[in-house]
């Protein structure tokens, strides 16, 4: 079965600094999703990547999927307190369910 490994597990950065979160899959990714979750709340869709080498940006968040489609990175530029939360990568295989990594807990220091 497909497994997703996220790194780091937690991250503390100073406001205004850049940061990167990685997601590595044990198998080829047919769809890679990034979600953000506030504690005890629902998952907010950030981006979906499907093609090798694809890169998408939304405001200060950029996500990339490598050419071999087994690794993705999420990069936040000039972090703000509103970026704090849990970032989850999810992968959809040939079947129709999405499995998730264990998440990266991001804390932003003022």
């Amino acid at each position: 079965s497909q497994e997703l490994e996220q790194s780091p597990q937690s991250l503390i950065v100073q406001e205004g600094k850049n940061l990167t979160i990685n997601c590595t899959s044990s198998k080829t990714l047919y769809g890679l999703y990034w979600y953000k979750q506030k504690y005890g709340e629902g998952l907010i869709f950030l981006m979906m990547l499907q093609k090798g080498g694809e890169e998408k940006s939304h405001e200060k968040i950029t996500a990339k999927l490598d050419e071999k489609k087994q690794q993705s990175s999420l990069h936040i530029t000039a972090s703000q307190p509103s970026h704090a939360g849990i970032y989850l990568c999810g992968a959809g295989g040939r079947d129709d369910k999405i499995i998730f990594g264990k998440g990266t807990r991001l804390h932003i220091l003022p």
């Binding site: 998952l43 869709f45 369910k97 999405i98 264990k102």
Partner: protein, 112 residues
Amino acid sequence: AAGVIQSPRHLIKEKRETATLKCYPIPRHDTVYWYQQGPGQDPQFLISFYEKMQSDKGSIPDRFSAQQFSDYHSELNMSSLELGDSALYFCASTRGVHEKLFFGSGTQLSVL
């Protein structure tokens, strides 16, 4: 825009009781997924439905059952509740395969 609606938002039950969680997908979404997220854990896939038929099954206990109705809403029925069932239960909906999932705000179930 309409989002995925889950009810109730919070639910407190005692051991061995039953619980029913409801999910109303985004209009015109034909696929519903249920996930369970324990404290500090990642969401674990339970079960999914496409066009009112079960499409996939994950780590769902035999004590749990679910169905999708003609109006595409779904219900997760949980019986003989155990302390370990305390978790945040998410419903997500989508239209088609490999499309983005939209998640509800979840139902926080506490079993005492």
